[in-house]
Symmetry: C2
């Protein structure tokens, strides 16, 4: 099964567009886990167990592992997901971007070493830099388009020949780079108008939408802007809003509650 088939199946079977982002900061995990072996993995394992039936995808953020020298715990997390939840697509949020043989190495890191189903990548270096990812036909590739931060304006909103840069990226993605039908785009929930512009340009390509929850994106506006022609088409991610919903031994229960609320709020607007 390709990434897109897995995702579409999951959207339908679970009636959920929610993705739980796995961004584990050791400083913020519950105290009782900190003294145990592999605290980050154990934290995430409980989050995964508590939310798996509610999500369309999980999105581990690689920086939280490499920044804490915990690549081994990322591997444990991916292996755990592959063993216990092979039906849930895993998007490794890595925002990689480099050229030629270096990009090939990043594709190996994400797809072969960690075995993720999909990855996020940065388009600044242009189409040839994305090919090593896109050529893995069975895998998914989410290209940064309009990000959720205030600084996104600096370059992504520059206008060239009447088109904002993020729309030029969206058009190239949809019209030139999606030969294998495995491409998606990242479009932040904090800019619903831009999200709508992107959807208008790319048809039913899946959109990974961060910025709900801690970053303040509004669900109703996002849903109006981003749904595809099947009333799906979005992977709406919440990380901190879910995984730090509780701080004590009940943290996994709190994470489940937040995920459920988010899924239901989203589904009210579909």
């Amino acid at each position: 099964m390709t990434f897109n088939e897995k995702l579409t199946k999951r959207w339908k079977e679970r009636n959920s567009l929610v993705c739980v982002g796995l961004d584990p900061d050791f400083e913020r995990i519950p105290v009782h886990l900190k003294a145990r072996k592999n605290p980050i993995f154990n934290f995430l394992r409980e989050i995964i167990e508590a939310t798996a039936d509610l999500v369309c995808a999980f999105k581990p953020q690689i920086a939280y592992f490499s920044g804490q020298g915990a690549e081994d715990q990322l591997m444990l997390t991916l292996r755990y997901l592959q063993e216990h939840y092979p039906e849930i697509p895993v998007i490794l949020d890595a925002k990689r971007g480099d050229i030629g043989s270096t990009a090939e190495m990043y594709a190996k890191e994400v797809y072969d070493h960690y075995g993720a189903d999909a990855v996020t990548v940065n388009p600044y270096l242009g189409g040839d830099s994305l090919e090593p990812f896109l050529n893995r036909k069975e895998k998914g590739v989410f290209i940064l388009c309009r990000t959720s931060n205030p600084g996104a304006e600096d370059f992504q909103s520059l206008v060239s020949k009447g088109r904002k840069l993020y729309l030029v990226v969206a058009e190239k993605a949809a019209n030139e780079w999606n030969r294998h039908g495995n491409l998606g785009l990242v479009a932040g929930a904090t800019y619903p108008d831009e999200l709508a512009d992107i959807r208008a340009v790319v048809g039913d390509i899946p959109l990974l939408v961060p910025g709900i929850g801690a970053q303040g994106g509004d669900i109703a506006s996002v849903m109006r802007a981003g749904l595809d022609s099947n009333g799906a088409g979005m992977i709406i991610n919440s990380s901190r809003g879910v995984i730090y919903a509780g701080t004590d031994k009940q943290f996994a229960r709190a994470a489940r509650r937040e995920t459920e609320i988010l899924r239901n709020s989203i589904n009210q607007h579909r």
Copy 2:
């Protein structure tokens, strides 16, 4: 000493603008090293020993380590450099780019975990995404500006208000983001005209220049285009051209010879 002080000292003391890029592909290292423990580290250790007195910097490419599950050998390489060559600036080529707390984690990865002196970053997400790196005043930050690959044209050369995107990046970098004087730019050797445009905009900011050697950049044109007002200002990188110059037990000697030729060719044009 800050990164820039270390770099400037090194440029002068060694009379060299050459940077050796450490991009170790296990498939390409000499056969006699492959069966040993930590083959990648041992390969690089010999390259470092053979070229250290000829270079202004080393630039390990993180993808070659993470793509082969060899982060531990990257750590060994960094520790080796810090112990034996603390005077040589080390630029970790990682092309990171993310927002807020995630960017903070990447800064930890590069500066704290690996202890690199500088990093390469991607500007697509805008100024706020670069702050966690730039706020480390004693460290260097090289922002991708005009990359050396053909696909660089796709977005970097789009014209907005009469300015190409890579020049907008260069201007913002030089005029808004360089509060701590620790910023540099990446500008490929394969586009000397663009390199000259960038130099004209950014004054004496250091330029990291990949694309010499295997990628075909021409030294004379690069030197005309990129020198700063002191006849320095460039870190001219060769990776594959140096580290795979020899394929047998004499590989380190071959690497030294290539580095020496490159340094001398560059210095003929200063």
